[in-house]
Structures are given as structure tokens and as C-alpha cells.
């Protein structure tokens, strides 16, 4: 693996706090993400990792703090905006569209880019009147490249619901990739996978990172995997940031160790 050049900060999270009613999920979290790097957020279950992503995605609205992306600073993110800015995301407990085929699931990732309007789509036809068909085909081709990339050709037309867990995770990733993201947020991409699947997944993640130069923010609660593939690591525990730095630095950080020993992982 050759050296990839890590650029300057693209995404910057400044002392975010998030509360649900009485419960506090996050308290003054701040960290930054640099171009082209693999940035991991680790922490025991319930440390608020997913909530962090949900704030970046605009799923949750943090009460305090701000998030800035490429210079623009936002108090609240708006999902649509986030997507348009090129931040894609996968989910911890599969959030695929159960009723749709693999291809269609990944195709949804292209929706932002579809130009033809409702009427054009309605009169979609093989005789290339209205161009909706042509557009569909163009996007389908792109999607097929992703399918090829993730090596799921054999399952193309299958309804996602019937596929094994490991594959569904891949499709989730595929859907995110279809957005051609600049920043890719991965929420426990390897949770509940067997070793082999984990290796595949890490391979894909690294490939994405250096084939397309995509910046990757990666959540994991199991340290092992993360340490080998990530450049810098943030450690959360009970909604607080207890460590930040290179894998080695983090590994030797007492708080982190105690947090992990504490929650016996």
C-alpha cells in the first residue's frame, strides 16, 4: 500500500451536545476529519457514536454546537443538504429498503442526480422520447459498476430482504457509494460479521478510500479491526470524548483502556 496524501480539514464538529428530554446523549464533542483519511470513532456500545453521525446527517438536531463542512458552518444540518454536499452514510442496524431489489436499493443512491421530472418519468419509453429512459440506463450503468466493485453480481435482482446479513451490509455500502460521496460515514460496517466477511469489508473500505479518494468516517465498537485500517481515532464513552489521535496514541491512553476494560470488551 503506497502513501496516500492526507489533505486538510473537510468536516469539523465543534462541541456538539445532544439531549433527548432528560437523557444526554452527547456532551461537547468536537473533532475534525481531514481529506482522504480514514477517521474512526470508537467507543463501547451506547457511547453515543451513532447519535454523533445522526447529528452530522441531520437526523437529530443537536441543542448546542455546530458542524462545518468545507468552510460552511451549520447550527443544524438538513439531511437533504448534507446529501447534496456529498456526505453519504451507512447504518448500524440495516436500513435497507426491504421491499426493493438489490439494484433498486443502490439506484436510490442516484436519486439526487436524476434530472427528469415526474411527467418525463411517466412517459418513459424505449423510443428515447423524453430522455427519462436514457437517464435511467446511464445511472443503471454506474450502479452496475458498484455491483461489480462489491462483487455482488450473483444477487443483482434478488430482494434484499432475503440476502444474508453480510451481503446486506455490502449493499448498504453500495447505496452510499452510489451517491459518489466525498465523505462516507460508516456506522459499524462490520458489526455481526464473521471474520471472513470482516476482512472483505475492510478490503472494500480501503479500496473505496484509495480508488476514489473518499474520506471515511468509521464507527466501530470493536477496536481490533479499526486500529489496522484507520489513520486517526476518536474515542467516545458515555457521550464524552475521552481520546483522539493515531491508533497507537489511543491504544496507550489510560481513559480509553479503562473505558474498555470497564465495559469488558
Amino acid at each position: 500500500m503506497s502513501q496516500k496524501k492526507i489533505g486538510d480539514v473537510v468536516l469539523n464538529v465543534q462541541d456538539i451536545s445532544l439531549r433527548f428530554g432528560g437523557v444526554t446523549a452527547l456532551t461537547n464533542i468536537s473533532f475534525d476529519v481531514r481529506e482522504h483519511e480514514v477517521r474512526a470513532i470508537i467507543g463501547p456500545n451506547g457511547a453515543g457514536k451513532s447519535s454523533m453521525l445522526n447529528c452530522i446527517n441531520g437526523v437529530y438536531q443537536p441543542q448546542e454546537g455546530s458542524i462545518s463542512f468545507r468552510g460552511q458552518t451549520f447550527k443544524h444540518m438538513n439531511s437533504r443538504q448534507v446529501a447534496e454536499m456529498g456526505i453519504a452514510r451507512t447504518f448500524q442496524n440495516l436500513a435497507l429498503f426491504k421491499g426493493m431489489s438489490v439494484v433498486d436499493n443502490i439506484m436510490t443512491g442516484r436519486n439526487l442526480r436524476i434530472k427528469s421530472n415526474l411527467l418525463m418519468q411517466a412517459i418513459r419509453n424505449p423510443f428515447s422520447i423524453g430522455g427519462a429512459q436514457k437517464e435511467e440506463e446511464a445511472h443503471r450503468e454506474f450502479v452496475e459498476h458498484i455491483i461489480d466493485f462489491l462483487e455482488i453480481q450473483a444477487h443483482r435482482k434478488a430482494p434484499v430482504g432475503q440476502l444474508p446479513y453480510g451481503l446486506q451490509k455490502r449493499i448498504d455500502l453500495g447505496r452510499a457509494l452510489a451517491m459518489e460521496p466525498q465523505v462516507l460515514l460508516l456506522d459499524e460496517p462490520m458489526a455481526g460479521m464473521n471474520l471472513e466477511e470482516k476482512q472483505d469489508m475492510s478490503r472494500f473500505i480501503l479500496d473505496v478510500n484509495d480508488e476514489f479518494g473518499t474520506t471515511i468516517v468509521l464507527i466501530e465498537h470493536d477496536m481490533g479491526v479499526v486500529m489496522d485500517i484507520s489513520d486517526r481515532v476518536v474515542v467516545l464513552d458515555y457521550g464524552k470524548k475521552i481520546g483522539d489521535g493515531t491508533p497507537d496514541a489511543v491504544r496507550s491512553n489510560e481513559d480509553v483502556i479503562s473505558a474498555y476494560l470497564g465495559t469488558s470488551h
Binding site: V59, R80, F97, G99, T108, Q121
Partner: protein
């Protein structure tokens, strides 16, 4: 068993994405269309056309609309009857107020009225989900009932909102005989069904299904729930509205608000559930089932009674109809919650891999 797919290889995405990728299916569907357009009008008698086929076609159209909203976008609606009513009265007003208004534009305008109405009552869907929404849509139902009953303007001051249309014409051709009406409805249905199918297999359709299956994820990949839901409401209520207008003009030709009561809304919902949520073809099955069932019962029950030696009054029949109907609904939900279309596709799959079980 009948499928021979070897050599049907797709060399373009266009070929791969067509509505019926398998050659055998294409032949079948063309045969079916030909049969419906040519053979049926010649063979079917007056009663069959008027009492069964025309209602079936129109209800299929309506069910199609409902299915887009409920089946594809996952927004439960109990106000479909209202959308039909708005469509019907809207078209009616267009027809009588604007001199020389031809029928088809009138229908489309009727549909557009329903569309506006639909979007208005679709707004709650942005805030509320599931059952709350279902009840919210009931509001549309009762509101519509009331409007056409009480606000005379819509019904040209006719008593109790009952109005009628006569000697309809399409492109100067009179729409009199049952066969004409049948063909007209069939044509409308065919066109709309095609357009609808195109929508659901395109980007917008995927947005709807995405919202239905996992709205948060959908939002995160940049789908605007508002646009998706309202467009679903719009398209759906437009189709339902047109169906309503057809129902009123072609089938009833004289009607009052009661014709579009909440009961109709329920029946439409049954159609899509029994037919199969999220399936175009399911809408047809559902419509057929719900349209034919009562007629069937009306025929069969007295006969059955006669056999046992009991004379069953018409009232009794209608009550029994209620019971059988209810029982069947429940039975269906238990046995095949995914509706007839699921059975259909399973059967088809079995045929494809015949003689293997899987």
C-alpha cells in the same frame, strides 16, 4: 413449465429494464390486451359489461391510484372515496359550466381537482404517520361528503347534491352502448396503468418505496420526504379522481354524494390489500375480487337458501353479504397478507423453475 428463457440474453440496459423482461410474458400480455379490446366487446353481453366489467375497470383504476399511495408510498388513506367524489363533481362542474368542454379534458380536469384536494389533505402526512394519518384522511372523507351535500354551488343547487350527466361524447362519437363505455374505460385504464407502471419503476417510484420502507435512511440519501409523499398523494389522488369521474359519468351517470361514502373508501382499501400492496397487477385482482364478490353472493345465497328450503329475503342477503365480506377480508389477511399478487408471482416463479420446487 411454459417458460423457455434460454437465449434471452440482454445486451442493453434498455432491454434489461423493460416492463416484461421475459419474452413469454410479453406475448401473454399482448394476447391479453388483444382479447380485452377485440374479443370481449364482441362476446360479452349487456349485463356482463354493465354490471361487472365496467365497474371492474373503473375500480381497478381507482385501486391503482390507492395502491400508489398506500402500497408504494406506505401512506394509509381512508379518504379515497372523497378523492373520487372530488374528481366526479369537479369533472361535472367543468362539463356543465364550461360550454363545449369535451369529455376527456373534463375527466383530466376533474382529476386535477382531486389532485389539489389530495395535496391539501396530504399535508398532515408530513407530520404524522400510520394510524394517525389514516384518521386524518378520514377528515378528507367527511369534509367532501359535507361539501357536496351542503354547499349548493358545487352541485348547481340540485337537491341533496344529486346530479346527472347524459349523452356523453368522445371525439364526437356518442358514448351510449355498454360496449362503447367498456372500450372507453378500458382505454383509459390501459393508458393510466402504463404511465403508473412507468412511474413506480422509475426514480420517483423508488423514492416512494424508500420512504415506505425506511424513511430515515431515505432522507439521509437525499430524498425529500415532503416531495416524495406529496407527489405520491398528487399522483394517487389524480388517478383516483379520474376514476371517480368515470364512475360517476360512465357507470352511474346520475349520482349523489352518498355514492362516494366512507364505505367506498374502505372497499378501495380492501381492494389494494387483497390485491396486494405495492403491485400494479394486484390492483386489478383486488378490484375484480371486490366487484365480483357481492354480485356472486347475490346470485348464490338465495339459490343456496332455496336448496335448504329457506327463503332468504334481500335484506338477509345484504346482511349475509356483510358477514361473508368481513370474514373473507380477515381470512385473506391471515392466509396471505401480501395479497393475490403475491400468490400470482409465486405461481409464476414456480412455473419458471418447473419441475423443481425451488
Amino acid at each position: 413449465m411454459l417458460y423457455r428463457e434460454n437465449g434471452q440474453l440482454k445486451t442493453t440496459y434498455g432491454a434489461d429494464q423493460q416492463i416484461f423482461p421475459i419474452a413469454q410474458d410479453r406475448w401473454l400480455i399482448w394476447a391479453l390486451i388483444a382479447f380485452a379490446f377485440i374479443a370481449v366487446p364482441l362476446l360479452a353481453d349487456e349485463y356482463l359489461l354493465r354490471a361487472i366489467l365496467i365497474p371492474f375497470l373503473i375500480m381497478s383504476l381507482a385501486a391503482l391510484g390507492v395502491n400508489i399511495l398506500v402500497g408504494y408510498c406506505g401512506q394509509i388513506s381512508l379518504g379515497s372515496g372523497a378523492f373520487m367524489a372530488v374528481g366526479a363533481y369537479g369533472a361535472y362542474n367543468m362539463l356543465v359550466r364550461i360550454p363545449g368542454m369535451p369529455l376527456i379534458p373534463a375527466l383530466i380536469l376533474g382529476g386535477l381537482c382531486a389532485l389539489a384536494f389530495g395535496i391539501l389533505f396530504g399535508l398532515p402526512s408530513l407530520r404524522v404517520r400510520g394510524l394517525y394519518l389514516a384518521v386524518a384522511t378520514l377528515a378528507a372523507q367527511f369534509f367532501a361528503d359535507w361539501i357536496f351535500l351542503r354547499i349548493k354551488w358545487f352541485t348547481l343547487d340540485s337537491p341533496s347534491g344529486s346530479v346527472s350527466v347524459s349523452n356523453l361524447q368522445v371525439f364526437g362519437l356518442p358514448l351510449q352502448s355498454a360496449a362503447d363505455k367498456y372500450l372507453f374505460c378500458l382505454g383509459m385504464l390501459a393508458v393510466v396503468a402504463l404511465l403508473a407502471k412507468n412511474l413506480v419503476r422509475s426514480a420517483i417510484g423508488r423514492e416512494w418505496m424508500a420512504i415506505r420502507d425506511m424513511d430515515v435512511a431515505a432522507a439521509v440519501i437525499g430524498i425529500r420526504p415532503m416531495y416524495a409523499k406529496l407527489s405520491a398523494f398528487a399522483v394517487s389522488s389524480f388517478i383516483i379522481g379520474m376514476a371517480g369521474a368515470l364512475w360517476a359519468f360512465v357507470h352511474l351517470s346520475a349520482w349523489e354524494p352518498a355514492a362516494f361514502s366512507v364505505d367506498l373508501s374502505f372497499r378501495l382499501l380492501f381492494m389494494v390489500i387483497i390485491g396486494g400492496l405495492g403491485s400494479i397487477v394486484g390492483s386489478f385482482f383486488g378490484a375484480a375480487f371486490i366487484v365480483v364478490l357481492p354480485i356472486f353472493l347475490n346470485q348464490i345465497l338465495p339459490a343456496a337458501g332455496a336448496i335448504v328450503g329457506v327463503n332468504i329475503s334481500t335484506a338477509a342477503v345484504s346482511h349475509a353479504e356483510f358477514m361473508v365480506f368481513g370474514a373473507l377480508i380477515v381470512w385473506f389477511l391471515i392466509v396471505e397478507p401480501h395479497g393475490l399478487s403475491r400468490l400470482w408471482s409465486i405461481g409464476k416463479q414456480k412455473l419458471r423453475i418447473w419441475p423443481f420446487p425451488h
